[in-house]
């Protein structure tokens, strides 16, 4: 069953950052030529791969945790409505207010209205994929509200007028020298003697943001988890910028995708082991904040939770693809992906890059709006191996390719070719004829062991960079049949 058939809307176009303006192969072609990007990504991903492997290897029960992580998410999705209602009840009972947003437009409007009601003209933000997805910063800006990103990597991206390229480390495509240059250029009062030492750069960010934290009246966050039975929200972070935002302002607005709910408190014991080891390669991230509603005398006294759909229910409608909603945004799949490692995140055009992005973005927008992404994988399977909740990304990629092919109303040359080939491969007689025709290619080689480079498309896309051996005069099955004719 598909969302289109059921009439469930996908994420609307024209708002947010789920759609690129170019196809993946076109964007990738350009990224591949960027030697600095390739070097930065190669260095960063190999570093994190080794760290992850070491801390995952420490746990003798990783496979069991992974299976529990998968099973809890599957069970949650099967009763998603009930868990969301329970969450709403618990958050409300503890002094919070719950809002429901059908899509990016509605979520942006709710948040803007809530900020305006406080009279504030600026907000501090904890890194959040959901607010990136809906383009909240742009919406706030249009309403005259300045949003300050406070995560170091988000800050680098914001100051550099850049786009995030990784789920966990949005500035992974920048190296220390480039970050130093951005800071010197854009941070008012930056120390001109600032070096490219990561510690010094982190300290520069600390100084830059300190005063903003202390004066902030409104904070906006995402959520890693929300516990339905208790109304507890969780934000997992490292730098302490999250704690600043979740603790100091009077008003906290949390925007959360509806798939982030987990049924019980106990479920966190699984994810708080899976997530840090998979994402930063640490046994535990430095800070995890958990809160339920409002606590008198401690932290924000006004708390709003915005529950966001924006295409998630459309994903849920696909029995194969819905597993993509299990993602806990660790980004381990990006770090092991040979495609991501070479093209970087911008080539995917969506805030969700890499293997998980290649199955999530097309489902949130409808496959036709991100039709090249399901093909942006060699199906090597490394992503499935490292996924802490065992999302079978390669199978979903293949499924989405079929959804794309089957959605075509006009017959493409590719479809003609594949249908003809299907006919041939289904009939021994036709197949032998087709093989014989392929064997005729040997005459193009004029006696050489490889075919000429200049062949018509689509063969040329192969022969541009690789030789193709000259086909033999006879196939193996043909020879064998001749030898064994009784």
């Amino acid at each position: 069953m598909t969302a289109v058939f059921l009439g469930i809307p996908t994420a609307p176009p024209g708002v947010g950052h789920l759609r690129g303006d170019r196809s993946f192969p076109d964007a990738a072609r350009e990224a591949l030529r960027d030697g600095q990007l390739r070097a930065n990504l190669g260095h960063a991903t190999s570093t994190i791969r080794a760290k992850r492997a070491a801390v995952v290897g420490e746990l003798p029960d990783w496979a069991e945790l992974r299976e529990a992580g998968r099973a809890i998410k599957a069970a949650t999705m099967a009763r998603l409505d009930e868990h969301l209602i329970a969450l709403e009840e618990q958050v409300t009972a503890r002094g919070g207010t719950v809002h429901w947003a059908r899509d990016a437009i509605e979520a942006n409007a709710i948040v803007t209205r809530l900020v305006q009601a406080t009279g504030a003209d600026e907000v501090v933000k904890v890194k959040s994929m959901a607010t990136q997805e809906i383009g909240l910063n742009e919406a706030l800006e249009a309403a005259g509200i300045t949003a300050h990103e406070t995560d170091l990597a988000e800050l680098i991206v914001q100051l550099g007028d850049d786009k995030p390229s990784h789920i966990l480390v949005p500035a992974i495509h920048k190296n220390r020298a480039e970050i130093r240059e951005i800071f010197l250029r854009t941070m008012p009062g930056a120390d001109p003697d600032l070096t490219d030492d990561p510690r010094q750069l982190a300290m520069a960010a600390r100084t830059h943001l300190r005063e903003r934290f202390l004066r902030a009246r409104v904070a906006i966050s995402g959520a890693n988890f929300a516990v339905a039975e208790t109304g507890t929200l969780a934000v997992v972070e490292s730098e302490g910028n999250g704690r600043m935002c979740l603790t100091l302002p009077d008003t906290l607005i949390t925007v959360m995708g509806i798939e982030k709910v987990v049924p019980s408190w106990r479920d966190l014991e699984v994810y708080l082991q899976l997530l840090p080891r998979s994402s930063t390669g640490e046994r535990m991230n430095p800070y995890t904040s958990l809160w339920a509603g409002v606590t008198p005398g401690d932290g924000p006294q006004e708390f709003h939770l915005v529950l966001l759909d924006n295409g998630r229910t459309a994903v849920l409608a696909d029995e194969v693809g819905r597993e993509a909603l299990h993602c806990i945004r660790c980004s381990a799949c990006l770090n092991v992906c040979p495609v991501y490692e070479r093209t970087g995140g911008h080539a995917y055009g969506s805030v969700y890059p890499g293997p998980i992005g290649a199955i999530l973005s097309p489902q949130l927008t409808g496959v036709e709006d991100n039709a090249s992404l399901p093909y942006a994988s060699s199906l090597c399977g490394a992503c499935y191996d490292v996924c802490p909740v065992a999302i079978d990304i390669p199978s979903i990629l293949v499924h989405l390719r079929a959804e794309h092919v089957e959605a075509q109303t006009r017959t493409t040359p590719e479809a003609v070719a594949f249908r003809a080939l299907s006919k041939a491969m289904s009939s021994p007689r036709l197949w032998r004829l087709a093989q014989r025709a392929a064997g005729l290619g040997r005459f193009l080689a004029r006696g050489k062991t490889t075919l000429p480079n200049a062949l018509p498309p689509p063969v040329s896309t192969w022969t541009r960079t690789r030789d193709l051996p000259t086909p033999p005069a006879k196939t193996f099955t043909q020879q064998w049949a001749e030898e064994h004719r009784s």
Partner: protein, 262 residues
């Protein structure tokens, strides 16, 4: 044992020497080899490119071609390709079932249980690691993605290679990295595919091996196509060809021609 050989469409059409080597090897080990004449393709390329409906008749053809073999006393089906065997195990029944062809799905699943990738068949079913091969060359082994992650062949190919007399096995750096083939990925995302291939070739060439081997002819076609274009001199040879080689069938002087000619 009576064994049916599934040559696979790519090997049959482009690199018949790989299927010949597989047959020769199995015969040398004392097994009877049959090659069902109606065979064509497992359907993987169609499934992986999005043509899962069009894959169903291909699966049906495969089942027709091999079901007869089983009823005539064949105990196992062997293919010199991790990728095709993985498709037979993980995809065939699923696409048939999705199309509502439940009988076909059941039949495909039953065939899959008897279908083995060459190294798994040798080590797990036949229980041999020393197949009596001789191959006096410096060789590095690329564990192709589907053999590694879908079939979990593990170090079986390496066990087999270590037992080959005269063979100097050198470890491939970054071995578990994809070569960038990925079926139609190599064409639809030719630039990214080439970038991956370049890095794979860099690792292969760093070993100074004469030969890069693997259990998948498709990945070898890709790596070998790149190495050939660079005139590197390092060539790709399928695992089956190495295992089929003996003192009688190959000498160092003949090293640039296939061990077992097709």
């Amino acid at each position: 044992m009576k064994v049916a050989l599934f040559a696979t469409c790519l090997v049959d059409t482009l690199t018949p020497q790989v299927a010949r080597a597989t047959a020769t090897l199995l015969q040398r080990l004392g097994h009877e080899v049959v090659v069902p004449p109606g065979q064509s393709c497992c359907g993987q390329m169609h499934v992986n490119t999005g043509y899962r409906r069009e894959a169903v008749p291909i699966v049906a053809n495969h089942v027709r071609a091999f079901a007869g073999a089983l009823s005539s006393g064949v105990e196992a089906i062997v293919a010199p390709s991790g990728s095709c065997v993985a498709s037979i195990h993980h995809q065939q029944a699923a696409v048939a079932r999705r199309a509502g062809e439940h009988q076909l799905a059941d039949d495909a699943a039953a065939l899959a249980e008897r279908t083995f990738e060459l190294s798994q068949f040798l080590v797990d079913v036949l229980g041999v690691t020393d197949v009596g091969a001789y191959y006096p060359h410096r060789v590095t082994y690329h564990p192709t993605c589907h053999s590694l992650r879908l079939l979990r062949v593990g170090d079986r190919p390496l066990q087999l290679l270590r037992a080959v007399r005269g063979l100097d096995l050198v470890e491939l750096p970054g071995a578990d990295q994809c070569c960038g083939f990925g079926g139609t990925f190599a064409v639809k995302n030719a630039d990214t595919s080439t970038a991956m291939l370049t890095d794979k070739m860099t690792d292969v060439l760093s070993t100074h091996a004469e030969v890069c081997t693997a259990g998948d002819a498709s990945c070898l076609l890709h790596i070998g196509g790149g190495l050939s274009r660079l005139r590197s001199g390092t060539r790709t040879v399928h695992l089956a060809e190495i295992l089929a080689s003996t003192e009688e069938a190959v000498t160092p002087q003949q090293s640039t021609t296939p061990a077992v000619t097709a």
